[in-house]
Amino acid sequence: MESGSGDGSTVPKMDDYESLISTTDVEHLKRVWRREKAAPEIFQFESALIGRIKEQIQLTEETVEEFVEAKTDPLTVSLYQMDLDRTQFLLRSYLRIRLQKIEKYMFHILKMDELFNRLSKEEKSFAERCCDDLKMHLEDCVLSRLPDNYQSILKQSIISEETDMVPKPQLDTFVVCKTKYYLGHIQLEDGDNGNPDDRGNQRHLEEPFEMEPNVLYFVRYKPIKKFVEEGKIDLY
């Protein structure tokens, strides 16, 4: 079974052949779904995996139709149908969560290229249309009637230094996670944030955090973000 790693899929490259052949696409989808649900920001769209799942769903739908026509045992038909329903639920829920995140953070996503490139083609056009519609609506109803300095959709007023009207994902949320292999030297506290005011307020850097395999932890999302994207840490 191809691991689909050529197109930015974030399933980890497994060393053991055993686990490679024994993890089904549905397992991957379940993992990816859980990760998308638990994390505050949006991940790379798993186009290869979703493509394969869609094909399998279509194949099963055709199989079910053939069974019904051939008047096979209704038990078998219903079991195939149940499996189909379960897979479709995972797929739909995955797509829905992503859409929810896009709607929530649409201006932020459109501004940051890195995030924008994580969307699928359809999601990109959805995000752009959403932004245009919302922008037009807000401008017509509210912004055009505000005093001149307050008319931006991105900033509270002209003197704002950042785009403070744009909701950003909270990377400080705590998530439940587990790793399969030992991970050492995770820097938990932020070093220099790049913010000059914070340099005086550095937290005490404790020993680098270690994660043992197969144990659940509650961790702040920001320090482990990189590992989650690489697939080394699973979210629950």
């Binding site: 089904t24 696409d25 549905v26 397992e27 379940k30 859980r34 649900k37 638990a38 994390a39 505050p40 799942i53 399998q56 769903i57 099963t60 045992d73 038990l75 078998t76 219903s78 079991l79 195939y80 149940m82 499996d83 189909l84 379960r86 897979t87 639920f89 829920s93 829905r96 969560i97 859409l99 929810q100 995140k101 709607e103 400080d172 949320t173 705590f174 998530v175 439940v176 938990l188 506290e189 005011d197 340099r199 005086g200 307020n201 550095q202 937290r203 005490h204 404790e206 955090f209 144990v215 659940l216 932890y217 509650f218 961790v219 702040r220 320090p223 629950y236």
Partner: protein
């Protein structure tokens, strides 16, 4: 809008946790013959009468509902095993005993759909409920120790899926609040003050817990 009624997309509903549990493998004893099933999630079967087969729980329950099999309760669901676990839970204040990750959901599903396959079901059920209560009480008392942690990670040993899901919203927000309010500019440590004097905040060592005021 794509958002359903759930305002927090990061929270799993109980049904979703059960959905994930339904993929766990369990043993059944079919009473009929059936061809192998080539499902999207895997291949199962062929099924022969009286031959123990391993299938996911959702499949086992579907077959059970149509009277096509008997479900074999997993080995950890025996009275001896559960009594032992309950005693160890009661003895130890901090640690949680090792239980299958989805023990709550699996036992619930089996109670609902496979009553006749579990011997002494009332005893088993009451044991599992006691175990749940003891564990949950432990989780509640251990929440008090979070504020000492002051680190950004908490280890939760051996908690099960449903328990994690129940405490997740509260613990997540509590830890976030601890993190936010535990930052050094609010609670200066004597050894840190000498390193951390910046231009804006002139911190005196006896500032204590007060918020530093802006210099006029």
């Amino acid at each position: 809008m794509a958002g359903q009624s759930d305002p927090h997309p990061s929270h799993f509903s109980a049904q979703e946790v059960e959905f994930m549990a339904e993929d766990e493998i369990i043993e059944i004893v079919p009473n009929m013959k059936m061809e192998p099933l080539n499902l999207i999630c895997g291949d199962y079967g062929p099924f022969f009468p009286q031959m123990v087969t391993q299938v996911p729980i959702w499949l086992a329950i579907a077959l059970k509902k149509r009277g096509k099999c008997a479900i074999r309760p997993p080995s950890w669901m025996s009275i001896e095993s559960l009594t032992r676990i309950l005693e160890s839970e009661r003895e130890s204040q901090e640690a949680f005993q090792v239980l299958p990750f989805h023990y709550v959901e699996i036992s619930r599903l089996l109670f609902d759909h496979a009553r006749d396959d579990i011997s002494d079901i009332y005893m088993v059920r009451s044991l599992i409920e006691d175990i749940r209560d003891v564990r949950f009480h432990k989780v509640e008392t251990s929440l008090e120790s979070f504020e000492d942690a002051r680190s950004s990670a908490v280890r939760i040993n051996n908690l099960s899926a449903m328990e994690v899901n129940i405490v997740r919203p509260f613990v997540g927000r509590a830890l976030q609040a601890f993190y936010k309010h535990g930052s050094p500019d609010l609670i200066p440590n004597p050894e840190r003050v000498s390193n951390s004097i910046s231009n804006r905040w002139q911190q005196a060592p006896d500032q204590g817990q007060r918020r530093p005021l802006r210099k006029r």
